[in-house]
Subunit: 311 residues, 2 copies
């Protein structure tokens, strides 16, 4: 069993065409070729924390992957990253451990950002004047990093709750190719952005309406309590896409909207869109929403891709 | 994060009073102090394999533990152990990984054997003339290793399907303090043993009746398909004990017996017996059965105990 640290993993990542690998994973998943049991979860109250265990395998593949990812929001006060975790890769023929990718949740962040980029690639309007980022955390930064090769737009409006986090975001992102404008008014995002990526852990919806010609990628809500977008927005959208129908039925934006009358049968799975088996956005006036809860096949694909360059 | 290998783990184990630690775990579990979500599972068909992910934490403890254990029965043909796995220990306050116990499933075997010893300690008749072991695998050996300090009996009858595995068992166990007699006739076990430990992965019951004055510890069945003991035996027993009521309702011997009319309300949890909150065996003529499916609290307790001597 080999153990790789974050620096080794980051070096290997540079060699990988991640969009291609993760797209293949979503397609395999939507075609029923991937075994992904229900997400394992642990919750802690004091201090508040969540652990997700996502695991599974692609049929007739070489490996199975178990991914552990935690989020402890008070870690910041201790000078620690909120997120942590690792990906464990085992031989599908024997159960022998092949490798531990001790990525400190970095690969989870990357595969999450890549999924956002894939949703934007297939669902954003043809012309994006401004990208809207809701949130100022890790994912709010990383989504942009992987959008830069997908969307030809450098103007970014970023929403946050505090001046401090917004200013830090602006400073941190000053060495990127993006032109960052910060705001505490969510309407600035709603009224000016054609591609909005929501990356917060809020349990009270921030986006309560959208204009025609908007695509929202909802990254933040991945539990039964989190919700970034009002259910009415999903009910009025032209197209709602899920990374995993079975997961989104039980957590996240779609889960919340179902309680308000939204119907699961109106949801298209991302893999179907990627493979061209379902229509994507039909014109630049439509409202489209992609709900991401994070699927183990993303972890499987990124683990395998990175391991190819580590071994 | 520290990583410990099997030799280091075995050395540390020598220092631990495992029975005491695991008993404490079962008591905490039965008192509702332990969070143990449903077991995570992966199944493979070709070659056949199972992976169990057991995880959880004791409230207000320092750590949470995620245990991965696999069984791939065809590994033997490749010269590999069937079982593999590891235990991962994380900080309950921050989610930071503290240690990986790369025990190759050894700690799972040990904590399973200890649980069997604990059941025998509380449930076996006062006089055991012969111990019966059903099966010839790892657990069939290890159960005896941990029974030797609990039960004052050195005569062991061992049942197996093949002469080869029985002879190998007898040779391998020749350096222990036990006097081993082998048999392929299950009735020899049933008719002569007052303490029977079943350690097979069979899906067709082997024990179809028992005499008064017998205790059976059923170690092997931990899925919805495995069953070592006919449901009628449970229906006619004086006392049926579960390591975990919620798990045994969904897998193993009790799960099977429920389909034949056995009632969950007649089951006592092992932690209640250990703590003296429920009656154990009342006399030497009773038939008692303990159904073990393996509970994450055993993994939590053994991980913590070993780590104390490793750090």
């Amino acid at each position: 069993m080999k153990i790789f640290n974050l620096n080794e993993i980051k070096s290997a990542l540079a060699n990988v065409n991640l969009v291609e690998e993760i797209e293949k994973g979503f397609v395999a998943y939507s075609n029923g070729e991937v075994i992904v049991p229900a997400v394992g979860e642990l919750h802690f109250d004091s201090p508040p924390g969540d652990v997700h265990i996502k695991y599974g395998y692609i049929k007739n593949d070489d490996v199975y992957v178990i991914k552990i990812a935690s989020g402890f929001l008070k870690n910041t006060n201790l000078g620690l990253a909120n997120g942590n975790g690792m990906m464990l890769v085992f031989d599908q023929q024997t159960g022998q451990p092949k490798a531990i990718l001790n990525d400190e949740s970095y690969l989870t962040d990357v595969r999450t950002a890549i999924a956002g980029a894939i949703s934007a690639k297939f669902l954003a309007p043809s012309k994006v004047k401004n990208i809207g980022i809701v949130g100022t955390g890790v994912q709010a930064r990383m989504q942009l990093e992987y959008l830069k090769d997908i969307i030809d737009c450098k103007s970014v409006l970023v929403w946050g709750r505090s001046d401090e986090s917004l200013l830090k975001y602006k400073v941190d992102m000053s060495n990127t190719s993006f032109d960052i404008t910060i705001t505490k008014d969510i309407d600035v995002i709603i009224n000016n952005c054609q591609l909005i990526v929501t990356c917060t852990p809020t349990e009270t919806p921030l986006i309560k309406m959208v204009h025609p010609g908007t695509h929202i990628t909802a990254m933040g809500s991945d539990t039964i309590t989190k919700q970034e977008i009002s259910s009415s927005v999903l009910l009025n959208a032209d197209l709602v896409v899920a990374d995993s129908c079975s997961q989104c039925e039980e957590r996240g934006e779609i889960f919340k909207a179902i309680k308000e009358g939204f119907r699961m049968k109106d949801v298209i799975e991302l893999g179907q869109i990627i493979e061209g088996k379902s229509n994507k956005r039909l014109n630049d006036d439509q409202i489209t929403i992609a709900d991401h809860t994070g699927v183990a096949v993303q972890d499987i694909q990124i683990s395998k891709a990175v391991l190819k360059y580590l071994n």
